[in-house]
Assembly symmetry: C2
Homo-oligomer: 407 residues x 2
């Protein structure tokens, strides 16, 4: 029995039902790029830990420079040079200055730094041609980060700059949620290994095993392509039960012969505590998708069409796995703004994913829909990105402005 649900409903229902993976492990930060934090990160010290100069110049008392100008410089005696990496021990008195480099520690008594280019230093006598105000060219201790401050919350996905700030705080080991493991199994009597050089009539090389696995790896999951299984109840049953024990998510792609979808669905229901959540999604392409849980595992029956398989992975399965991983969903989706080249029909109640090729016309970007038949895989390769026509929209008229999500 098919029960076709809208995409948003499918994703929300599945997110609500599927438990978050909570197995965490400690990793070195240099290996944590793209990983999801299993804990809040709280700073244990102020950053910087001391007042630092942000420029090359001279540490001063700001009031000693007040009124300084090109025509009326102030004069200060240079008494010291602060060495990088060393404590600035010598206090600064009125009428004095100490040479300091970017990042250097401010000496006690100083409250500002005059940039080198506004000074002239002759025989330890410094002419200052521009006044500074207190705090100018200085980062105070704790100005960047205060002790006890929450820097990242659980579920944050670490970016390059985040790895940098963890290093700066001396946090070199972080607890991350273990990556979701995914098995990608292709089924279909017509499928042969891509290494098959010459195809017999009726045979097709497996593509989903490769493209779906690559898609998952791009998204930081531990995906394994586990090969091809023919459409045989017993063989497929045993393979799925085997994979189910080993992986967090089992994706069964294809089974395109008549009735194979039912076989997949029947087999899924033999898994422990199996619960069929979705049997058909209101998305084009990608409608005949099965989503089920078995204990805390996720089992997916993906359409066999390579285009449908990738569209469903991107729009439906990916957000569900991300939620299973405990990653916060991205707040904003970057796109390019383009104008559609022709009218595009769509049905209300269904999400249409239209692959487009983009070109420029002066300052404008033109999006040309690639309205090829389902199963024409090259459309995905020719496409620069895609437009989402949501459930409530009937179609898009020529020259409308749209958001193109790039591949």
């Amino acid at each position: 029995m098919f029960c076709i649900k809208p995409v948003s409903q499918v994703v929300n229902e599945c997110k609500a039902i599927i438990k978050q993976k909570n197995k965490s492990r400690a990793v070195k930060i240099e290996n944590a790029l793209g990983a999801v934090l299993a804990e809040d990160i709280i700073s244990i010290e102020d950053m910087p830990s001391f007042a630092r100069s942000t420029v090359d110049g001279y540490a001063v008392k700001a009031e000693d420079t007040f009124g300084s100008s090109e025509n009326m410089p102030s004069f200060l005696e240079v008494t010291n040079e602060i060495l990088m990496g060393k404590e600035a021990k010598e206090p600064l008195d009125f009428g004095k200055a100490q040479k300091i480099a970017t990042g250097g520690m401010l000496p006690p008594g100083s409250d500002a730094v005059v940039m080198q280019e506004y000074t002239e230093n002759i025989d330890s006598m410094l002419s200052i041609y521009k006044a500074v105000s207190p705090g100018e060219n200085v980062i105070k201790a704790g100005e960047d980060i205060q002790q006890e401050q929450v820097i990242f919350t659980k579920g944050h996905k670490l970016r390059a700059q985040d790895i940098g700030i963890l290093a700066a705080m001396g946090i070199t080991l972080v607890n991350i949620i273990e990556s979701i493991t995914v098995a990608v199994l292709s089924t279909g009597d017509e499928l042969v290994d891509p290494n098959t050089k010459v195809l017999k009539q009726g045979q097709v090389r497996d593509t989903n095993g490769y493209s779906v696995t690559a898609f998952l790896r791009k998204n930081n999951y531990l995906a394994d392509y586990v090969g091809i299984c023919i459409d045989d109840y017993k063989l497929l049953h045993d393979r799925v039960h085997e994979l189910y024990l080993e992986y967090d998510v089992v994706i069964i792609s294809g089974g395109s012969s008549v009735g194979a979808k039912d076989v997949t669905s029947d087999i899924i229901q033999t898994l422990p505590e199996a619960q069929l959540l979705v049997h058909g999604i209101a998305i084009k392409p990608g409608k005949p998708t099965i989503i089920a849980t078995s204990k805390n595992k996720l089992v997916i029956g993906l359409p066999g069409h390579p285009v449908s398989a990738l569209v469903v992975m991107q729009h439906v399965i990916s957000p569900i796995i991300a939620s299973m991983q405990g990653a916060k969903p991205p707040a904003f989706e970057p796109t390019i703004r383009a104008y559609v080249k022709q009218n595009i029909d769509s049905q209300t109640g269904r999400t249409d994913i239209i692959r487009v090729r983009c070109s420029t016309d002066g300052d404008k970007i033109i999006a040309e829909p690639l309205l090829s038949k389902a199963g024409v895989f090259s459309s995905l390769v020719k496409a620069d990105g895609y437009i989402i026509i949501s459930e409530s929209v009937e179609g898009i008229t020529k020259d409308s402005e749209v958001n193109v999500h790039l591949y």
Copy 2:
């Protein structure tokens, strides 16, 4: 001698001078995600290799269905079922139909497929309730890709769907350009290893080594953080000469004490056939950047400020390394459209990179500039993305619509 050049000029000049890496190697496609092709990929066969059905149904001669409707069905005799993966050997005669699944091979004599839902099959007699035209629900041989067609050109960066189509064509090994290897060396007397638990006064943990390496890895380069070197001419000289032999690109980050920039620049000039291309870029932050070549190697003196270092990596160095790798530059940059919360000043002749935090206000996205001091690293962590104010623009006024590049 500083010679400040605009960003676009720096990138174009460096791209023109720096030779492309042309060392290639064969890799299995399952390991080629994100790799850059060293050759054009030309199909050696038609895809699909035979006419296939795109639906579950019955292969027919289209003219046998003409005029069929709910009230006036056509009647055809079902003579065969086409098995998946097998050659459809039995020719189809007028008045006959053969059962076929999605992806099945069309039998000789058939030219269309009637979808199962528009039929009723009782005792081998098929009622057809909807006419099909010739070619309907069929992908012809070669309709997806023709033999001898160029699928990808040299310099293409492989995406998940591209890996899939290579598998479909039986191309399981591809020549890719070897990845660029990058050494990231941090310099500065104040720097200590991030594993240092308690800092002495004046000390700072190295961040650039970690963030710059992570940034490069995210972009598919083979980056190694090679540690910290103090600001000592002899030590730094020997280390740079050593790294230069081993890597395609050597990045020297920091050297923030007075005169250290000149030391870096002096050392770079001792490398074989050294050519200093850039000594200062009109970008804020990131001005004091050195770019040099030595034979076919690239040597970079990166600012010590963590924020400057990452901005320069993203806007200046990254496109140059991509060009060195032979990767085609991306045609379009995805962004989000937002409205700035306040006026932002900028100087003409200089590219300003303004970090922003985004929030939603109804349907609108609001971008709030994080106008913190240089060296305040947490601004990079708080930011969702950044705005580029180009050389020709003087500033941005409150409520202007801008493109935010997400981090």
